[in-house]
Structure formats: C-alpha cells, structure tokens
C-alpha cells in the first residue's frame, strides 16, 4: 500500500519538472503552440479516461462537450463582452449541465448502445451549432474571439502554455485522487458487475452520471481555452472526427490509467509532428501517406498492446523489478472471453 503512494509522488514530481522545463528547453513558440494543443487534448482525454477506463462507459461524443464549452465562452466574450476568464469558467459549467441532462437520459444504456447514443449526441451538437446561425455564426463560424489575458501576462504563446498546463495539472491531480479512492473503486466496481456494485450500496446510475458530468466539464474547459487560443471557431472541429481522436488518445495511452490519457495525448500529437518533420525529409511521405502511417500505427498499437502504453510500460518496469502482478492480468484476459 505505501509504495503506491510513493511512486505516485515521484511520478508527479517528474511530470511537473518536464512541464515546467519544456518551454525553456524548446524555446520556440512553435513548440509552445504544439504544447498548448497537447495540453488541451490531455484535459479532454483525462475526463474521457474517467468515463471509459473507470466507469467503463464509452463516449463517442466528447467533441460535443468540447464544442459547447468553446462556443459558450466564445459567444459570451465576443458578443456579450464577458471577460474571457469568466467565460472559460462558464464554458466548463454549461457542458457539465448538458452532460448531466444527457447522461440522466442515456446513462442507462449499455456498451455499443451507449456508444451510439453519445455519437448521436455529438452529431446533434455539431448540427445545432451550425444551424443556430444567429448566435454561433453557423457554418461560417465566428472570428476575432478575444484572447485570454490573465493577470496581465498577455496572450503570448508561453503564457498560454503555462496556463493550459496549469489546468492540465489540476485536472490530473483531481483525477488521480479519484482513481484511488472510494469513488474510483465504485466506478471500477460498476465496470465489472453492476449488480454486485449495487448490492454493495453503489448507486450505479448516480455514479455513471457523475462520471459523465466531470468529463463534460473537463471537455468544456478545454474547449473554452481552445476558443480563445484560436481566435476563430467554426463547427468543423467539433464532430465525430475529433471525438474519435480523443478516444484514440485514451485507448492508446491506456484506458485504465489516468496517466495514460496524458501520455496518449503526447504520443498521438508527437506522431503527428514526427510525420510532419519526416515529410519534409522523405519526399515519398507526401500526400496522404501520413494518414496511412497513422492508421498503421494505431492498428499496431492496439494489436500489440491493447491495454495501452502506460499499463504496458508499467508492467515492463514491474517485471524488471520482479513484480508480476499486471502481467498476470493481461494473461487472464485471454481466458476471459468466457462469457
């Protein structure tokens, strides 16, 4: 029991060092902008990780919450002159409320049915944004959304970087705390057997609901930051494509791990950046070859480490330390096709 807490702290310290040092080591505002995007993805992914990895609920509509957050804050700031900082907070709360309402309705669905319902929700949000022209600007979107300018730091790339990663850190710590707590265990229990969880006193419906609400809030927060960062919005990024990207991040990083969502965001974006750089040097890597490579990497990761990067690396480390627990677990899955 005790060692767990220690490794956690060690992990957080290493994480903080990396986050703080990154912009100093790569002192180029391009990398800072990449860092901002990675951070924004990580916030959404951590929330989604809570829903998927812990509560075992799939969401194919996370970009919907992302979009609601983005538009809420953008409309408030651009049309009603609400200070962006306040707008961002409201931009987190509104999707939370939407998630509450939506989840109340659909959280009773199971597996792929839930996947479909969330996918449908995502579509409805995207269509709603496009159709509500008077407020959102419709398909043409909004321009000139005021940038975030907190404490007069200005809206430079670096300050945005630190702001976003500050939020990532809070979200991360919050989620890590949940993971190893009464609430986290209740989620995992639901994941395995709803009936057994119920008989232990877990209010299954309420817990599923709260997981959705938290993930909706995280996504909204990220979306709001995104809106002010980009300065423009149109409905295009808030569709299934982006929802799938978030899902990919979580699965590749490892659903059962909060760190997985973070690492997934880094890895998926890093693959994108590497492909850009490679494309500059390898002429044949032109055209849509990069999508092929991306698809292939995705397939390879799921085929060869279906549990995701973080759990896999962790079990390697444990093995080298002579601890064998998680290895057994992965072996177990094979027999578990049972029922």
């Amino acid at each position: 029991m005790l060692p767990k807490v220690k490794t956690l702290r060690k992990g957080v310290v290493v994480y903080l060092l990396l986050v703080i040092l990154f912009p100093l080591l790569l002192a180029d505002s391009y990398y800072h902008s990449v860092g901002v995007i990675v951070g924004l993805h990580a916030i959404v992914a951590i929330g989604l990780g809570l829903v998927m990895g812990l509560a075992g609920q799939i969401s194919l509509g996370q970009a919907g919450f992302w979009g609601i957050g983005a538009y809420t804050s953008a409309v408030l700031a651009a049309k009603y002159g609400v200070p962006p900082v306040l707008g961002v907070m409201i931009g987190a709360i509104v999707p939370g409320i939407v998630a509450f309402i939506v989840a109340r309705a659909i959280a009773g669905l199971q597996g792929y049915y839930l996947a479909m319902a969330t996918l449908a929700f995502g579509y409805i949000v995207q269509i709603g944004i496009a159709e509500w022209e008077s407020v959102t600007g419709g398909a043409n979107g909004m321009i000139s959304i005021p940038p975030l300018d907190i404490f007069g730091i200005g809206s430079s790339e670096v300050s945005m970087y630190y702001l976003v990663w500050g939020v990532v850190t809070l979200v991360l710590l919050f989620s890590l705390n949940i993971m190893n707590s009464r609430v986290g265990r209740a989620y995992r229990a639901i994941h395995k057997s709803e009936i057994a969880a119920t008989s232990m006193g877990v209010d299954v419906a309420q817990f599923k609901l709260s997981a959705f609400v938290v993930s909706g809030m995280f996504a909204g927060l990220s979306g709001a930051l995104y809106a002010h960062y980009m300065g423009i919005l149109d409905p295009q990024p808030f569709g299934l494509h982006e929802s799938i990207k978030f899902l990919t991040i979580v699965v590749v990083g490892g659903m059962t791990s909060i760190w997985g969502a973070l690492i997934g965001a880094v890895v998926i974006n890093a693959i994108g950046e590497i492909l850009i750089v490679l494309g500059e040097h390898l002429p044949w890597l032109k055209g849509d070859i990069d999508t092929i490579v991306f698809g292939a990497i995705l397939v390879a990761i799921i085929m060869f480490m279906p549990e995701g990067l973080v759990p896999r690396v962790r079990s390697w480390l444990m093995k080298s330390k002579g601890d064998t627990r998680s290895e057994i677990r992965s072996e177990k899955v094979e027999m578990e096709t049972v029922s």
């Binding site: 064998t324 057994i328 072996e331 027999m335 049972v338 029922s339």
Partner: protein, 245 residues
C-alpha cells in the same frame, strides 16, 4: 482394462510467470473412470484445460488415442473425440436449451445425420426431463443445477471417447449430485466412454471410480485404485473430512 487412451507426461503449465503444474504424469485406460482430487487451487482445472487444449502446456506431452495432441487447440481435440464439461458450466446463455444441445452434436452432423441426433437429444431429455420441459427457455435463465444438467447433456451428445468432467455435481441438490455420479457410471457401462472426473465430493467420486490421482499444488501427490486412495490416511484427513475421520 483396455489400452491407454490418455497419457500425460511431465506436463507443466503456467499463467504468466506463475507455474501451476509441475510435471504431471497421468494415464487413463479405455473404459476407466479416473478421479482427480485436490484442494482448491491445486491445479485440477488447469490440468483438464491443458489436456483438452484450452490452455497450452509449457512443457511435456499429452497423448490421446495414440496421437499427440499437446498443443492442438481445443476445437480440434474435441472433434477427435474428447468432450469437456468445463468449470462454471459455460452454457450458451442466450441460446435455447435445445440449441445448446444441438451444438453439442454439431460437429457430428454430417456423419450422423439429423435423425440420429434428434433421437440422441431425446435420450438426453429422458435422462433430464426438466430440460425437455424447458427446451425453449434461454440457457442462462435456468437454475444453477439445471444448467449443470444441460452442460453434461451437451457434452454427451458429442459421443466422446473420453469425457472430462470438472466438478459436475457443483451446485446440485444431494439427490441429483448422487444421480450424476451414477449417470457417469452408466455412461461408461453403456457406451464404454472413458471418464476423467474432477470432484470435491471425494467420497462420492471415489465410489464410482476405478482409480484416482490426488493433486497437491501442481504435483501428483498420490495415485492408486479408488480403494487404496479411500483408505489412505492423508487423504482421509485432508479431503474426506469428518465423515471418515
């Protein structure tokens, strides 16, 4: 006793890095009923799974009916004439009772023909009348004991040369549990089916067995005829409980 139908030599098995079977040697002759006893976690289920190919052995060999089958997958082994009633029954929960039974005979459909199998299913119904009553019900909604009957009936429909039974009386009422063991004996007597039986109810099992093996943490601790095993003091104290103590 006839020729050896099953021969397990120096078999080891592991789950990940944990070794659970440490060099098992075991032989079953045609027409025998052999019991496999042992405490929880001794490795009985694992051994059965290795024999039928559900779990792949690490080292050692399994020979069945004169052929080596060590790492041949279960679906092939089954078609060679081995049936396995697995732990926790594993019935097809959303299929009807009748479909469950059909599936037991599915790989014999071509040679045996539909009529013959219909008759055999009828025989199973005669043995377990409750199954006939419930033949349209989904397997998963049967009571625990009814499911166990279904699992056994389904296995018998593959007309196996060797039948592996993993705790067949688990969850059965005393009356039925006893009956099941009798049925095992009848099956052998009628069809000459060889049986390898894992049971917690050691007394009952030994009563119908010719020979027995006692497993302890992955090794064979003791083997002998049923009579020898029953009278072994270690076995009495460890597995037969107060009834014989």
């Amino acid at each position: 006793m006839g020729k050896t139908i099953l021969k397990v030599q120096d078999l080891t098995a592991r789950y990940g890095p944990i070794q659970v079977l440490h060099g098992i040697n075991l032989q079953v002759s045609e027409g025998e009923i052999v019991s496999l006893l042992g405490a929880n976690g001794a490795g009985k289920t694992t051994l059965l799974n290795c024999i039928c190919g559900l779990h792949s052995a690490k080292e050692g060999t399994v020979e069945f009916d004169g052929q080596e089958i060590t790492r041949i997958p279960a679906e092939k082994v089954v078609r060679q004439g081995m049936a396995h009633v697995p732990e926790r029954r594993q019935i097809f929960s959303t299929l009807s009772v009748e479909d469950n039974l059909w599936l037991g005979a599915s790989h014999r459909m071509r040679e045996a023909g539909k009529q013959v199998i219909l008759q055999e299913i009828d025989q199973i119904y005669q043995r377990f009348p409750i199954l006939r009553e419930r033949k349209r019900q989904m397997g998963g909604t049967l009571s625990g004991g009814q499911q166990q009957m279904l699992a056994i009936g389904r296995a018998l429909l593959s007309k196996p040369k060797l039948l592996l039974l993993d705790e067949p009386s688990l969850g059965l009422a005393p009356l039925i549990a006893k009956e099941i063991l009798q049925i095992v004996q009848e099956i052998r007597d009628q069809w000459g089916t060889t049986v390898l039986l894992v049971e917690q109810n050691a007394i009952g099992a030994l009563a119908v067995s010719d020979r027995a093996y006692v497993l302890q943490t992955g090794t064979v601790m003791l083997e002998g005829t049923a009579k020898e095993i029953v009278s072994d003091s270690r076995v009495q104290s460890a597995y037969l409980g107060k009834a014989h103590a």
